[in-house]
Assembly symmetry: C2
Homo-oligomer: 227 residues x 2
Amino acid sequence: MEGERTVRIGELSRRSGVPVPTIKYYVREGLLPAGRLTSPNQARYDDGHERRLRLIRALLDVGGMSLSAIAEVLEAVDDPGQPVHKVLGAATGRIAPAEPEQSDEAGSGTTEARKAVEALLARRGWRVDADSPAGRSLEGVLAAMHRAGHGGLVELIDVYADAAEAVAHADLDHVRRRAAREDLVESVVVGTVLGEAMLSALRRLAHAEASVRAYGGADGAEPGDGA
Amino acid sequence: MEGERTVRIGELSRRSGVPVPTIKYYVREGLLPAGRLTSPNQARYDDGHERRLRLIRALLDVGGMSLSAIAEVLEAVDDPGQPVHKVLGAATGRIAPAEPEQSDEAGSGTTEARKAVEALLARRGWRVDADSPAGRSLEGVLAAMHRAGHGGLVELIDVYADAAEAVAHADLDHVRRRAAREDLVESVVVGTVLGEAMLSALRRLAHAEASVRAYGGADGAEPGDGA
């Protein structure tokens, strides 16, 4: 089996869309295993190389991760002693944050924000560390709401958490259909970033619809009444 | 009433946190009405000025809008002939997009993505133009999913739309408690951007919890069984 379907580096480049010099660079940096040498200056690559390249590009382009973060994630992927949820945690924890880090200015309300995050986790029974990247990110958002004089938005947090939970369960069901550990990581990273963008765009569309319904139809049409 | 509680520019700066030269710049650019002259070199500012400054800063800092886009939004805010949903649309349409614009490359699957957006709007009865910024943004995300080889994620779109709708209704209820038209615009802009960040952070937290539940507890704990 192993010897089947191997290709030269040029073909690997065409299939993956990754330029040859970039592939060589990934090999030198240890992100991609070297090809199997069939002669002193001829190496062959298999499906595993193609899949690994696709994962690297997804982490890089979609996840916005640095090469050093990618190296760490790949190490976890390749270590059979690491439980799957640890590997997924290693990957998602290093994806570019949803929101740029908020600077910790004086009077930023961070203590209250931190307490609100901890209270939420306890209330919902979510076994996630408040110090995880997502927990810190939520804390930053709540502090920013306070600073902007819109702390009242925090009242909506459980409606938002319900929505997030429904979406996360659907995401996980979708992802669990993937068998290979490597594909799983790729799915989670792509799903985290692009799913987030999809949810944001849908929320804005739903806002537009709710606004038309509440404040009147476009261009003289009657305000909708829910029909 | 009008003459009451007016302040000098230095006090307006202290209250709003906006530096004096910046306030003067906004007046020159027509974003902020001039103060009322009480002597040839003394102007007084009232609550309306303070509220307007706060709105400009929210659009600028939180909404990531350009000054020229802000000028257009303020024009709509100040025009009593403009219906509220038009003003809100003008504001939210100019907020920095949820996702950077996707470049339209060859084979990007844009046509399919466009059809998927139109089908979604029709299916849900959302009276929103597919060409609106949010519609275009969703189209870009769906095309990116295809390009990344994860077109299957699109199957989740109705679960996401349900979640987005629930959140959008809660947002609108929250916002409708604000009476003044200017405050309404500020609330919507701040709520759109920070609410989006809150939802993204919560989704990542919910992922972490779902992953622990599905793939085993942290550090040797038993996998959860939904209890």
